[in-house]
Assembly symmetry: C2
């Protein structure tokens, strides 16, 4: 059989990984796929760098659209990032009847509905295993491996940079700023780390997971996002004292009346497997009604882990190449016409247990005032930790863990606490999940 | 489109799970598969029980071959177990051009080569996600999700019964016999637990994992198998003291000259995620050259977890139903004609680090004799723990951890130690793996 011809858009870390792994494992991949997968064209900003990567057998092309629509390309692999050229090239390839394999979560989270709709009319597959959790085959697991299940929730550590920072803050008692610097020094964080540390990258990925878990369109604009840049190491320490770890989780959960969609630092019981995922690793925990909880763990980024996911998609595309489009696995796991318009719940309707830290005056009556406010709001206290005032200080830390309660009620109670004279600084509020 | 019609062979725990989940999640599964999946016939030893399960809409059949070859059945789901009727019905279905989905590891581990060969000539898929690690989509992950990789090794906790027993022995300091009784009381172990506790069930599953990891035929007869029935709780305690946990692992690893294939109790560092998999849960760790290490965790048995895996296979079969057989995913992950005849290494050639416990006379010169034997055999000591003799005893425990060394050399050294007058009972030898 003729080889499947790949047009590789991007020659950076991921692009070079794809080229190198395809070359190194050519024989083994062909033994699996039944057909060779060959990069025939490459397009990159820096033509010389691209040429150096691919040698003389591969055509180096300057114009992404030209490559995406070339008669000598069967599949476009888009690893250039961004949402401008990547989108133009993706749509050009789809319109030319070519399959697309992409690692671009930002593109799909923001423009996925448009892209999948056009791909559907053209009958071409758009695959994105590499867009979520790097080398972990999480899209395939959720889309195909758990196809029997009514998915109840998905919770994942889906950003390696922030998990690295949180691991360092906990294990070495660093501040956020110190841990970020260490992450930058080791190449885990970019010079401008905003996308990672503010949770935006995780929100892109969660958007895709939520869509394929519940059969809904991608809805990035509806994700509630809180990053870790304001997280303080003392809260990590208090959490640990109470038997919890703090992880930046992407959480999406289905209820009768809608779907939760949120990224934020989260306290989880330290004994959970996912609480022990350290460093830049990723892990996704999925709860299905039939299977129960399953967990998927591995490297969430990097040249060859990402290439592993892209090439798995290429093998799938190769197998399906002559198949009837109606019988392919749908891009969003559910048949296009079967997508649902289940609403995304506003955050005020979301229920979680809550961790609060209050800096309070070390005087009598403080605890009575605060617990009264909670009682008035029907918020039950699950645990309470009052620290002794440090030597010479007239203030102390009060940590309260609440039972599960609506976010709106917690916000209202915190606003009232904040007005107490004895509450000396901004109340810290973190959400908790049992994940059981 | 017409529904896919399933003939369900077996109405026990797994069969009823398949029926119930297909029924409960009918709408959601159809939204994914694009086609309804309906049980149209059921065959079971106890016809009344089968009838009670399926109600009046499903035909209850007494003869498995009749159902397997029925014109009203598209796919045979084989969940009857054993290797006699299950094999006859599986081959009858394949010969009649029907797809087969099976949870039967014993059948495939022993007769897989024959079954896959006939399925290949008939162009029908034989799927077995449920045969390994229950609800975890590990077959799909390894066969498709990691298709880009040269797989280096696979190590898994793939028997829930033994993991439950080992967890109990460690956490509650029970003997093997006590923990087994508890497992039987809770339904985690059968009245005759031999298949589980002697590692045979794990060996069946490992046989399948090895085949799809490395593209080799199934070779159950070549698995080295040691169970946990002779494991003593003091070794679990000593392991813990040294920073290790003991798990029954199935391990298959590729070398230049052959493939390791072995099931045995194994010391692994307590800080590894897989070391913290407790109770009846399963987990499989896979090392690929591109992706690195990924881990898959979840329930390894039970009615609905197993049904989850079977129905995932049914959805795949549904999608591929009209596809050209040449473009389906091959049963053993690699194209049939691309299977390799890489030899399985004899155990004497396998290298591992080793844990030894010797019961020795509490007298001078003992340690010198033992370390001399190790030195003569070029076996380096990694750690040594000598316990004080218990009050009134003239014997004591000596624990030695060795560096990685060939099994044959360890066996020879142990044989020599065993002949020392000062070594008072059978030397306990356990293998260790770093899994890094």
């Amino acid at each position: 059989m003729n080889p499947i011809r790949v047009g590789l858009l991007g020659s950076g870390i991921v692009g070079s990984g794809v080229f190198n792994v395809l070359k190194r494992n050519r024989v083994e991949i062909t033994r699996r796929a039944g057909r060779e997968i060959v990069v025939t064209q490459i397009c990159a900003r820096n033509l010389e760098k691209a040429q150096a990567l691919v040698g003389n057998d591969v055509k180096v092309v300057a114009d992404p659209i030209q490559m995406a629509t070339s008669a000598e390309v069967d599949v476009l692999v888009e690893v250039i990032g961004g949402t401008t050229i990547s989108k133009q090239a993706t749509l050009a390839a789809i319109n030319a009847g070519k399959a697309v394999v992409t690692a671009n979560k930002a593109l799909l989270a923001s423009h996925g509905n448009e892209i999948f709709a056009i791909a559907r009319t053209k009958g071409v597959p758009v695959m994105f295993e590499a867009a979520v959790a790097g080398g972990i085959p999480i899209i395939k697991a959720l889309r195909e491996g758990l196809a029997a299940n009514h998915i109840e929730w998905v919770a994942g550590i889906i950003n390696g940079t922030t998990n690295f920072i949180l691991s360092k803050m906990r294990s070495q008692k660093l501040s956020f700023e110190e841990a970020l610097k260490e992450a930058q020094r080791l190449g885990y964080a970019e010079a401008d780390p905003t996308f990672d540390i503010e949770g935006i990258d995780a929100a892109h990925k969660l958007t895709l997971l939520s869509a394929i878990a519940f059969g809904i369109p991608v809805q990035f604009s509806k994700v509630t996002v809180e990053g870790i840049s304001t997280l303080q190491s003392q809260d990590i320490a208090y959490a640990e004292e109470l038997g919890y770890r703090i992880k930046l989780l992407g959480i999406t959960r289905r209820h009768e009346n809608g779907i939760e969609l949120r990224v934020h630092p989260t306290l989880i019981p330290a004994r959970r497997l996912i609480a022990n995922v350290e460093g830049a690793m990723n892990a996704v925990l999925i709860k299905g009604d039939a299977v129960g909880a399953t967990l998927y763990y591995g490297p969430g980024a990097g040249s060859e882990p990402t290439a592993s996911a892209i090439i798995a998609d290429l093998v799938d595309v190769t197998r399906l190449f002559t198949a009837d489009p109606e019988h392919r696995v749908p891009s969003l796991a559910f048949q296009y016409e079967a997508l649902a318009d289940t609403p995304i719940l506003p955050m005020s309707e979301v229920k979680t247990a809550t961790y609060m830290r209050l800096r309070v005056a070390d005087e009598s009556g403080v605890l009575a005032d605060i617990t009264r406010i909670l009682a008035d709001s029907n918020i039950s206290i699950d645990a309470l930790l009052q620290k002794e005032a440090e030597d010479g200080s007239s203030e102390t830390d009060l940590i309260i863990l609440t039972h599960v309660v609506k976010e709106g009620a917690v916000n209202a109670a915190i606003a009232r606490m904040q007005m107490l004279r004895t509450v000396k600084s901004k109340v810290v509020r973190l959400r908790m999940e049992e994940l059981s």
